[in-house]
């Protein structure tokens, strides 16, 4: 599906540029630049609208971070940037955070993954219509995957109810978000699919060895073993290549991968900053935390609701303000939801 979007590839390696062009050309218009200087010149001229930038970190002359600095000085801050690198080192990640980079593209390149991430950031996903067959097939897949995950919850005595409540909360919050922002494409079917994807946010733990989970759950959240469940979960969900389930797989993969990111860029695994993290992923993050806090209370009425919301609001930079404010707007629906659950 050709998307009408333009991607600028900046890399001094001709082989890498050619491979990226071969991977992307069926979906995007690809423009190549072989060094940082020509890329900055092209961007500042503004003769052609660029929708996304794939930028090599290591280039002679002006490297990727110098390009980002130049873009910042020229106030070019509305283009999603993906850094091309063999290693997402701590130093690179920290620098990338300062510039609000959307993510890293590792070498060797994985075409499907790059296209999926670009489409998500460019808002291409979701534009195609879901057919009746898509919805039926997707529901069937969600049911099958859900049975598998429930078995895991039972075997490892995990709180299945928490994930069911995330689904309910996400539905309430997404409906309100669509209504407030007049997002018509976020229809009933999509809201159902996105909400149900929230159930699988931690599915990666199924493939993290149980001993590792126990060790890392009690340690700092930034330990590699704990973080690993995000990428593993995304990889697991993405194993479904059915065209009918594509929308669910893309949304669920994104949620699995990025539900521990923070709006201030201090989350993991990619330290995605601001609105570069999808709204529905932020909503899943919010639902996850809200339920964890709210369930600590015996009763679930207005007073406990206020305590929890105040607590979450103290954590500046957790999710975007437009997402955070949804809790208060949906107060009646949420408290009613918990009362009916009881």
């Amino acid at each position: 599906m050709y998307t009408d979007k333009t991607v600028l590839v900046v890399d001094d390696s001709e082989i890498d540029r050619m491979i990226l062009e071969a991977m992307l050309c069926d979906e995007f218009e690809v423009i190549q630049k072989n060094d940082g200087y020509s890329a900055v010149e092209f961007l500042t001229e503004g003769t052609k609208k660029v929708d996304a930038l794939l930028l090599d970190v290591s280039m002679p002359g002006m490297d990727g971070f110098e390009v980002l600095q130049s873009m910042k000085e020229s106030e070019i801050d509305d283009i999603p940037v993906f850094l091309i690198t063999s290693e997402a080192t701590r130093d690179n990640v920290e620098k990338a955070t300062q510039y609000g980079v959307s993510g890293f593209i590792r070498k060797p390149f994985e075409g499907e993954d790059i296209i999926r991430r670009l489409k998500l950031h460019l808002g291409v996903i979701g534009e195609y219509k879901l057919t009746k067959k898509d919805i039926t097939e997707t529901r069937r897949y969600i049911k099958e995957l859900g049975m598998l995950l429930r078995r895991h919850f039972i075997n490892f005595r995990e709180d299945e109810g928490h994930y069911s409540r995330i689904v309910g909360l996400m539905k309430i919050l997404l409906e309100k978000y669509a209504e407030l922002n007049d997002i018509r494409e976020l229809d009933k079917e999509r809201i159902e699919i996105i909400s149900k994807a929230g159930y699988f946010c931690d599915i990666g733990f199924m493939v993290v060895p149980s001993r590792t989970v126990k060790i890392f759950k009690i340690k700092e959240a930034n330990e590699d073993g704990f973080q690993y469940h995000t990428t593993l979960g995304a990889e697991l969900v993405a194993l479904n290549h059915s065209e009918s389930c594509r929308y669910f797989v893309e949304v669920c993969t994104e949620i699995c991968m990025h539900h521990h990111e923070r709006y201030d860029g201090k989350g993991f695994p990619h330290r995605i900053i601001g609105s570069h993290n999808q709204i529905y992923t932020q909503i899943c993050r919010l639902a996850d935390r809200f339920d964890t806090y709210f369930m600590k209370y015996q009763e679930h009425n207005d007073r406990q609701f206020e305590y929890v919301v105040n607590d979450i609001e103290k954590d500046k930079g957790f999710v975007g303000m437009e997402v955070l404010c949804l809790l208060s707007v949906c107060k009646t629906d949420i408290t009613w939801f918990y009362q009916t659950m009881e």
């Binding site: 390696s13 082989i15 069926d26 290591s58 063999s86 060797p108």
Partner: protein, 117 residues
């Protein structure tokens, strides 16, 4: 099947993965192998390590690692990845040893590509 690809496979190159990475375009993959050959010819462990220009060596090794990885030239990719790690850990002698060890394989792969250029 292309004879070049057959010979490369015999030398440990994952040709199928490389072609898949360029969306099944075998012609483009072939063209890129010729470009890789030029890149490999521009780097010699003996010569470049003697020049003592460490940033330059790192840059070249980094580029070859990226290209061999993307073209699925696995034996060279693994060796250059190891060498790059050692260079970054400030162990140039060990890095050079790794690259010298892989030289016979590299020469075979280069000769193979050169034959069909």
């Amino acid at each position: 099947m292309d004879l070049l690809f057959e010979e490369l496979k015999e030398n440990g190159v994952n040709v199928d993965e490389g072609i898949e990475r360029v969306m099944g375009n075998a012609g483009l993959y072939r063209q890129m192998l010729f470009m890789l050959l030029d890149m490999l010819e521009g780097f010699s462990p003996q010569r470049d390590f003697d020049s003592s220009n460490c940033p330059d060596v790192i840059e070249k090794v980094h580029k070859i690692k990226g290209a061999t990885g993307n073209l699925a030239v696995q034996p060279l990719y693994h060796a250059y990845m190891k060498a790059l790690e050692l260079l970054r850990a400030n162990q140039p002698e060990q890095a050079e040893a790794v690259l010298l060890e892989i030289q016979p394989v590299q020469e075979k792969i280069m000769a193979c590509i050169e034959k069909y250029k």
